[in-house]
C-alpha cells in the first residue's frame, strides 16, 4: 500500500496508540456495547460525514488534512463465523446484492447464507479432465504411432495399455490445473488492490476477523441505514470506507505501464531467438560453452605426445605382465587359423570336443544369438527379417544351410571368424559369446546343415 509508506513516519504515534487502545478493548470487554464505549472514536458505528473525517485519529492510511473521496462502502466486523453467517443471511434478506464476506478460513454455509449460486467449477474441471485424457492419448498416438513410429519392447506402436498411465496423468494434471486456475479466475484473484485494504480492520480478515463489506453501488445502500442494519445483525464494529479524494491516485502509476511493457518485451526475446533458430540454417559449429569439457586435455592412445621422449602417448605393455585375455597362442582355437589359413578341421582344445552336451550348448546359444536373424532352422527367416518385411523393408540374412553356395562350403575357421568379427552387415559377436561357445554354435550349425541336406555335402 503506497499510502502507508508515505505516512509511516509522522503517524507512528497515533497508530501505536490506536493499536494499544484496541488491545485494551479486547482484554476488557466483548460485545458491541463495550466496543462502543471504549473504541468509539475510531471505528464503531460512527457514521461520519465526509467533512468530519479529520477527527478520525486512528486511520493511519489517510492523510490527516485530506478530504476523503466518495464513499466506497462499509465494512463490518463480527466476532465468530456463526455470527458472520447469520449477518450475511440478514443482509441478503434485506435485498442487498453487492456485498462480500471475508474470513481467515472457509466458513461452512456462507455460500448459501449469502445467496451465492453453486459454482460451475466442477463442470470446468470435468472439461479439463476430458481434455487431458483425449490430449494425452492424442499426444502418444501422434508421437509414437504417427509422426515417429517407434518399436518399444516389441509392442504395437500404438498400444493402449502403455498409453493409459500417461493419459491418466494428463487427465489429473489438466483437472488440477483447471481447479487451481479456475478457482483464481472465478474468485477474481489475484486481487492486488481493493478499497477495503486501506482499513486497519480489514487486516484481521487474514487473522481472526470475520468481516462483511457492503458496497455503496448497491441500489439499497444508504450509509446510515446500512450501518444500522449491520449493527443490528451483531457487528462489533462498522467502518465506512472512502476512496481516495484525488482520482489520479486511484489509477496505476504511469511508470508501471512502462515496466509492464518493457518486461513483456524482454520476456519475448528468448522465444524469438528459439523461433529464429528453428526457422534458419547455419553452417557454423555450435557454441562450446564449456570448452574444457568438450575438448578435454588428454592423450588418446597412439596419438603423438610430446611429454615422453619417444613422442608417443601409448606407453606399451608394462614389462613382465600379460594383458587379460591376450594369451591366445592356440590360433586354431582363438582365431580359427592354422598356419595363416582357415582351419578346416577342429581345434584340439578338450572343452570343445564334439559331444551331445556341446551340441545342446550350441543349440541353446544359437537359439539365443543367431536365431533372431538366421531363424531356428538356419534358413534366414528369423523374426527380425520377418518384421522388417512386415514394415515394407528388405533384409535377407544369410541362409546358413543352403547346399549350393556359401556357408556349407566354408571351413570351420572362416565360420568362427564370421561369428567373432562379423561379415557384411552382420556385426561381430566376440563381445557377447565366449570362444568355446562359438565353437559349440559352429558344431550346431553343421548339424543344422546336415539335417537340411540329407545325403548332401558334409
Amino acid at each position: 500500500m503506497i499510502d502507508d509508506d508515505d505516512n509511516t513516519p509522522d503517524s507512528d504515534d497515533p497508530e501505536v496508540k490506536a493499536a494499544l487502545d484496541k488491545q485494551e478493548t479486547k482484554d476488557v470487554a466483548e460485545g458491541p456495547a463495550a466496543a462502543l464505549a471504549h473504541d468509539a472514536d475510531p471505528a464503531v458505528v460512527v457514521v461520519t460525514a465526509p467533512g468530519h473525517h479529520d477527527d478520525d485519529g486512528d486511520d493511519g492510511d489517510d492523510e490527516d488534512d485530506e478530504v476523503p473521496g466518495e464513499l466506497y462502502g462499509v465494512l463490518a466486523e463480527f466476532d465468530s463465523p456463526g455470527a458472520l453467517v447469520r449477518a450475511a443471511r440478514k443482509v441478503k434478506d434485506a435485498g442487498y446484492t453487492e456485498f462480500d464476506c471475508y474470513s481467515p478460513f472457509p466458513v461452512h454455509g456462507i455460500d448459501e447464507a449469502m445467496g451465492i449460486k453453486r459454482t460451475i467449477l466442477p463442470l470446468l474441471v470435468f472439461g479439463g479432465g476430458i481434455t487431458g485424457t483425449v490430449g494425452g492419448m492424442f499426444l502418444q498416438w501422434w508421437m509414437n504411432a504417427y509422426d515417429w513410429p517407434w518399436n518399444v519392447g516389441g509392442k504395437p506402436t500404438w498400444s493402449i495399455p502403455a498409453n493409459i498411465p500417461i493419459a491418466y496423468e494428463t487427465t489429473i494434471l489438466l483437472s488440477v490445473l483447471t481447479t487451481f486456475f479456475g478457482m483464481w479466475i472465478l474468485n477474481k484473484l489475484p486481487q492486488v488492490w481493493h478499497p477495503f485494504f486501506k482499513l486497519d480492520r480489514f487486516l484481521r480478515a487474514s487473522d481472526d476477523g470475520f468481516l462483511l463489506g457492503i458496497e455503496a453501488r448497491d441500489k439499497r445502500f444508504d450509509q446510515a441505514r446500512t450501518t444500522e442494519l449491520l449493527v443490528k445483525a451483531g457487528a462489533t464494529g462498522v467502518d465506512p470506507c472512502h476512496l481516495d479524494s484525488d482520482p489520479d491516485r486511484r489509477k496505476l502509476p504511469t511508470f508501471l505501464y512502462g515496466v509492464i511493457v518493457v518486461t513483456t518485451i524482454l520476456a519475448l526475446i528468448p522465444l524469438a531467438l528459439i523461433a529464429k533458430a528453428r526457422a534458419t540454417k547455419s553452417n557454423k559449429p555450435h557454441y562450446h560453452i564449456f570448452e574444457d569439457m568438450d575438448f578435454q586435455p588428454k592423450a588418446k592412445s597412439d596419438a603423438p605426445f610430446d611429454a615422453f621422449a619417444d613422442g608417443r602417448a601409448n606407453r606399451g605393455e608394462i614389462a613382465g605382465t600379460v594383458a587379460r585375455g591376450s594369451r591366445n597362442d592356440d590360433t586354431a582355437f582363438h582365431y580359427g587359423l592354422q598356419n595363416g589359413q582357415w582351419l578346416t578341421g577342429w581345434p584340439s582344445v578338450p572343452t570343445v570336443q564334439p559331444t551331445p552336451e556341446l551340441m545342446k550348448r550350441g543349440q541353446a546359444r544359437y537359439d539365443i544369438y543367431c536365431a533372431p536373424c538366421h531363424g531356428f532352422d538356419g534358413q534366414g527367416h528369423g523374426t527380425v527379417p520377418e518384421r522388417v518385411k512386415e514394415s515394407g523393408g528388405l533384409y535377407a540374412p544369410q541362409n546358413l544351410v543352403d547346399p549350393v553356395k556359401g556357408v556349407v562350403e566354408q571351413p570351420n575357421g572362416q565360420l568362427f571368424n564370421t561369428i567373432s568379427n562379423g561379415r557384411n552387415t552382420m556385426l561381430g559377436y566376440a563381445g557377447q559369446i565366449p570362444v568355446a561357445d562359438r565353437w559349440a554354435i559352429i558344431l550346431y550349425v553343421r548339424a543344422l546343415q546336415r539335417s537340411a541336406n540329407p545325403g548332401g555335402p558334409r
Binding site: 465468530s80 463465523p81 456463526g82 478460513f105 461452512h108 454455509g109 455460500d111 448459501e112 466442477p122 470435468f126 519392447g153 516389441g154 509392442k155 495399455p161 502403455a162 493409459i164 498411465p165
Partner: protein, 432 residues
C-alpha cells in the same frame, strides 16, 4: 470451527424391534434350503461337485468381501475419528459380526470337502499324496507345498476368521456398552485400538485373497491381487450398506437420523473405490502385459482370449466406466432412487468380478491331470468355455439369504450408537 450438533429426533424409531428376528428366521431358513438345493443340483451335474464347489466359493467370497469391507468401515471410522458416519456405524458393526456365521458356512462348504477327499476346488491338495508326480510334472508347485497343504490351509482359514471375528466383536461390543454408559472414554480407547487392528486387518486380508482365490491357480501369482480384491470389497460394502440402511428406513426406522447427506458421502466413497478397483486391476494387468512372461500372462490369456472376454469387457464397462460416470455428478448421489439403482448395479457386478476371478480356474478335466499340467491355467483354450449352471444361481441367492439372516441375528437393540459423543455432529452432518 463451530461444529453443529443435533440430538436424536423425538419421533425417531431407532430400535430394531422385530426387524432382526424376521430377517434372521427368513434369511437363514431360505439360505440353508437354497444352498442344499444348489448341492443337489451339483450332485446331479455329474462333475464330481466341481461346479457346485466353484459356485459356492464365488458366492461365499461375495458375502465375505462385504463383511470384510464393513469391518474396514468400522475401523476407519474410529481411526480417523469420523463424525459423519456415526449414524451408519452400528449397521456396519452388525454386518461385520457375521464372520462367525461365514466361518461356519465356509468350513462346511470349502474346508470339509477337502478333508473328505474331494480335491476338485483347490487341486493342489491332490499332491499331498503324490509327491513323486509333483516333482516330475510341476516342480514350481513343489516349493509351495509347505504353504499349500490341507492342514496348514485349514489352520489359516480358521485363523483368519478368528482374527476378523475378534476385531469385529471387540469394536461392536464396546459400542453397545457405550449405548448404556455413554462413556466417551470408550470412543477414545477404540480409536487407539483401531490403529493396530487396522494393521492386523490389512495383513489378514492380503492373505485371505492369496489363499482363498489366488491359490486356485497356484502356479500363478500377483502381489497386488488382494489389493484389487479389497477394492472390490469396498465397492460392494458401500453399495450394500447404503441399500441395507435404505431398507431399514423403508421399514420406518431411522427415518430422521440418516439423511441424504449421509448417502451423498457413501456415494463419494463408492465413487472413489470404483476408481481404486479399476486402478489396481489395471496395475495388475499392465505389468503382466508389459513383461509378457508366459507364467504370468496365462491369467489374462484364459480370461481374455476365450469366452471370458465378454465377462472381462462387461467388468471394464459396468464395474468401472458406467458407475464412474454415473457417480461423477452430485445429483446422482443425492437422488436416492438413482443412487440405490447404482448400488444394486455395483453389487451385482461385484459378484461378476468374483465370478470372473474364480470361475475360469475351473476346467472339466480330472483334478490330477490339471495338477500335472500346472493347474487349470494351462492346456487347451477350448476348455475355457463359459457354461451356465443352476447351482451357481442357487448358491448365490442362498448365500445372500444366509448372509442377510446372519445380519438379522445381529440387528437388535439400538440401530444407532445413541450415546456416542460424535452422534450429534453426525446427525447434523451436511455437505457444503
Amino acid at each position: 470451527m463451530s461444529a453443529a450438533a443435533k440430538t436424536l429426533h423425538p419421533d425417531e424409531k431407532y430400535k430394531a424391534g422385530s426387524l432382526g428376528t424376521k430377517m434372521a428366521t427368513f434369511g437363514i431358513g431360505a439360505g440353508v434350503l437354497l444352498l442344499l438345493a444348489s448341492y443337489v443340483a451339483g450332485r446331479l451335474a455329474d462333475d464330481g461337485l466341481r461346479r457346485f464347489q466353484y459356485g459356492f466359493l464365488t458366492a461365499w467370497m461375495f458375502v465375505l468381501t462385504i463383511a470384510i469391507g464393513s469391518l474396514f468401515f468400522v475401523l476407519i471410522h474410529h481411526l480417523t475419528r469420523a463424525r459423519w458416519s456415526t449414524v451408519l456405524r452400528r449397521i456396519a458393526e452388525c454386518v461385520s459380526l457375521t464372520f462367525p456365521a461365514l466361518a461356519i458356512a465356509g468350513a462346511i462348504g470349502i474346508i470339509m470337502p477337502m478333508w473328505l477327499g474331494n480335491h476338485e476346488l483347490y487341486f493342489w491338495d491332490w499332491f499331498g499324496a503324490h509327491k513323486a508326480e509333483l516333482h516330475l510334472h510341476n516342480h514350481h508347485l513343489e516349493g509351495k507345498l509347505s504353504w499349500l497343504n490341507p492342514s496348514f490351509f485349514t489352520l489359516r482359514f480358521f485363523f483368519y476368521m478368528a482374527v476378523y471375528s475378534g476385531i469385529a466383536m471387540t469394536f461392536a461390543r464396546a459400542s453397545r456398552k457405550q449405548d448404556e454408559s455413554g462413556d466417551p472414554a470408550i470412543s477414545e480407547r477404540l480409536r487407539i485400538l483401531a490403529g493396530p487392528a487396522m494393521l492386523i486387518f490389512s495383513i489378514t486380508t492380503v492373505f485371505v485373497g492369496f489363499d482363498m482365490m489366488m491359490s486356485l491357480a497356484p502356479n500363478w501369482y500377483s502381489t497386488i491381487y488382494s489389493v484389487n480384491m479389497f477394492g472390490g470389497c469396498m465397492i460392494a460394502t458401500y453399495a450394500f450398506l447404503s441399500l441395507l440402511t435404505r431398507a431399514i428406513q423403508k421399514s420406518g426406522r431411522l427415518t430422521h437420523s440418516v439423511t441424504v447427506e449421509h448417502y451423498h458421502d457413501m456415494g463419494k466413497l463408492l465413487f472413489g473405490f470404483v476408481f481404486f478397483w479399476a486402478y489396481t486391476a489395471f496395475s495388475q494387468f499392465m505389468l503382466i502385459w508389459y513383461a509378457n512372461i508366459p507364467e504370468e500372462t496365462v491369467f489374462f490369456r484364459y480370461r481374455w482370449w476365450t469366452d471370458w472376454q465378454t465377462v472381462a469387457l462387461l467388468l471394464i464397462i459396468c464395474q468401472w466406466a458406467v458407475p464412474y460416470v454415473a457417480l461423477l455428478s452430485r445429483w446422482s448421489k443425492r437422488v436416492l432412487p438413482v443412487f440405490m439403482g447404482i448400488c444394486v448395479w455395483l453389487l451385482l457386478f461385484h459378484y461378476v468380478d468374483m465370478y470372473w476371478n474364480v470361475m475360469p480356474n475351473m476346467t472339466w478335466g480330472p483334478s490330477h491331470e490339471l495338477a500335472k499340467a500346472g493347474g487349470p491355467l494351462t492346456g487347451d483354450l477350448a476348455l475355457h468355455q463359459w457354461k451356465f449352471a443352476i447351482s451357481d444361481v442357487l448358491s448365490f441367492v442362498g448365500m445372500v439369504a444366509l448372509f442377510l439372516g446372519a445380519i438379522g441375528r445381529q440387528l437388535r437393540g439400538n440401530l444407532v450408537p445413541v450415546k456416542d459423543p460424535m452422534l450429534g455432529p453426525s446427525l447434523a452432518f451436511e455437505n457444503y
